[in-house]
């Protein structure tokens, strides 16, 4: 549906986008995830037309967007600051895009009512944006960007200005809304939970390039490299030597087993904290260590275990049996165990 190829954007001497390729499918929610300066917002602004790429093409359903100014692109943006027009009513804000496209007054009024109902703001059409709460403003911004029925909606950190509890509800609502409308969304965020929860596919960006693209589960369980493994849900990383499914940990002088073979030679073993267990019973792979500290994270107890070579494993202990059962005193010698399919083998 949307295909960007070889996009390059430079601001002075810094390269914001570096020969970037991206494909967004019809009817999907694609999340661009990355830290600040990774180029995710620049990519969004380039698709919208606010940034002119030095090289590359953007094609949407056989329309070459590259040559079109922002107001001619069949794409709408929901801005991070919402950018609601303060001098217009909520209804005029939502109807703005329709009026610009030559939709009649009567038809605009009808469409605005539909959009207000869609975002559950019936009866708010006559208010000013300044008279609404942050969450209501966010919904007006969403309705405004959806009203002209864009082929693709771009959302720039749409939930960054909401408080935590509202954010959680809004995520689910946004996903539901997108499914019912069948419009593709490209959403920019730096929040990995948001990305994992909402996305059909995630593109992790780093230094103006796409580090990895895939479904949330694929990225989380089979990261392509150290950056993605650490950026999405912080992993324990150990140096290793891979030989098929056998993984030698030179620092500990022992080998562990992986479920899938990796690339032979020196590499990295990544282990998710929630896949590790304290107390080895039944686990195929086991190492010994000493508990150095533990902290309570609400939904889990995070325990740090120092291994013989000085490296530290962070283990997430389930609180299914209560906090008392999960607590371990610092200084205790423990075994840390995991199953072969928890091993993620990465290139060095």
């Amino acid at each position: 549906m949307l295909t960007a190829s070889g996009l390059t954007v430079r601001y002075g001497s810094t390269t914001a986008l570096d020969h970037l390729d991206l494909t967004v499918q019809r009817d999907e929610l694609f999340v661009l995830l990355g830290g600040s300066g990774s180029g995710k917002t620049t990519l969004l602004r380039t698709i919208a037309g606010f940034v002119r790429p030095e090289a590359g093409r953007i094609v949407l359903d056989d329309i070459d967007l590259s040559a079109l100014p922002p107001h001619r692109r069949p794409v709408n943006t929901m801005f991070q600051s919402y950018a609601l027009f303060p001098h217009m009513s909520v209804a005029a804000n939502i109807g703005f895009g329709l009026r610009q496209r030559g939709v009649s007054r009567a038809e605009t009024r009808r469409r605005v009512e539909t959009m207000l109902a869609l975002v559950r703001l019936e009866g708010f059409g006559g208010r000013r944006p300044s008279e609404l709460s942050g969450g209501q403003q966010q919904r007006v911004a969403l309705a405004r960007s959806l009203a002209p029925s864009p082929r693709l909606l771009l959302l720039d950190e749409p939930m960054s200005a909401l408080d935590q509890s509202l954010r959680r509800d809004t995520r689910a609502e946004l996903v539901r809304l997108r499914r019912s409308l069948g419009i593709s969304f490209v959403l920019v965020t730096h929040d990995q939970d948001e990305a994992l929860e909402m996305a059909d596919r995630i593109g992790v960006m780093r230094d103006g390039r796409m580090a990895q693209v895939g479904t949330p589960a694929a990225l989380y369980e089979a990261p392509a490299g150290r950056f993605v493994a650490e950026f999405l849900g912080a992993a324990n990383i150990l140096s290793c030597v891979v030989d098929g499914c056998s993984v030698l940990l030179p620092g500990l002088g022992l080998a562990v087993h992986a479920a899938r073979p990796g690339v032979n030679g020196r590499g990295l073993l990544a282990l998710r904290a929630e896949r590790l267990r304290i107390g080895g019973d039944g686990a195929v792979n086991q190492v010994e260590g000493v508990v150095t500290e533990s902290f309570y994270a609400g939904d889990a107890l995070v325990v740090s275990v120092r291994l013989a070579d000085g490296s530290v494993l962070r283990v997430k202990r389930s609180l299914a049996d209560g906090l008392g059962a999960a607590l371990v005193e610092p200084g205790t010698s423990v075994r840390v165990g995991w199953q072969p399919d928890a091993c993620m083998l990465l290139p060095e």
Partner: protein, 278 residues
Amino acid sequence: MSRAGRRAVLAVPVGWLILLLVAPLAIVVLIAFALPADGVPPYSIGFSLDNLLLVASDPLYRDALLRSLRVAGVSTVACLVIGFPMALAIARAPPRWQNPLLLAVMLPFWTGFLMRINAWIGLLADDGLIVRLLGLPPVLYTDAALYIGMIYTYLPFMVLPLYARLSRLDPALMEAAADLGAPPWRVFLRVILPLSLPGVAAGAALVFVPAIGEYVIPALLGGPQAELIGRVLWEEFFSNRDWPTASAVAVWLLVVLVAVPIAAQWVTRRVRQASEGE
């Protein structure tokens, strides 16, 4: 703070206003109702509407006032038309360019006002640079020279408040309008212009109010036939020593200066309400 202390602090600005604004104004109004007399001061206290009625009915004063209104109005509109793109360009310029550009707008203030107007006399004179280079008919001592001088002098007063307003506009608003399908001219009409109206009002007031009473520029650059109200006021007061008439002119001028902004505000409110119906 104690009540007395608060009063003492308030006394300074209140005293200042009474001494320098209310009292002189009261004296002017008093003299406008007074009777002319031979002597020092050249009036005797009384209550007569003759002065005010004379100024309102005598074509000399009425025409001068109307001409002043026209000159100030045209100058204000011209300053707006020239100043808006300037202010917008400065507000949109890269940040490191904004201060130098603003400095350039204010640079004329570094030189004395009369010096600059005299420089224009040299430039606009029949053998002056501009007239000779462009091969123009004589410009000096015509309405054209008057307007050039007025616009030149008052342009910074329009640019600065407009810039202050425009530089604070969130660029995302313009982007949002373009994103929703508005071509650049409609982004200007529907977003930039309505949101900069307070700046337009401030700039227009800063130009219109001093422009209507201006008498130096018309005297030095304008034609002798163009008698403006500021000049009339000057002559009544200093040449004819007719203080009551001069005060009556001043009172009428004040009435106009209060009425015009109120009317302008009323019009903009109606325009804004009408545009919201969209």
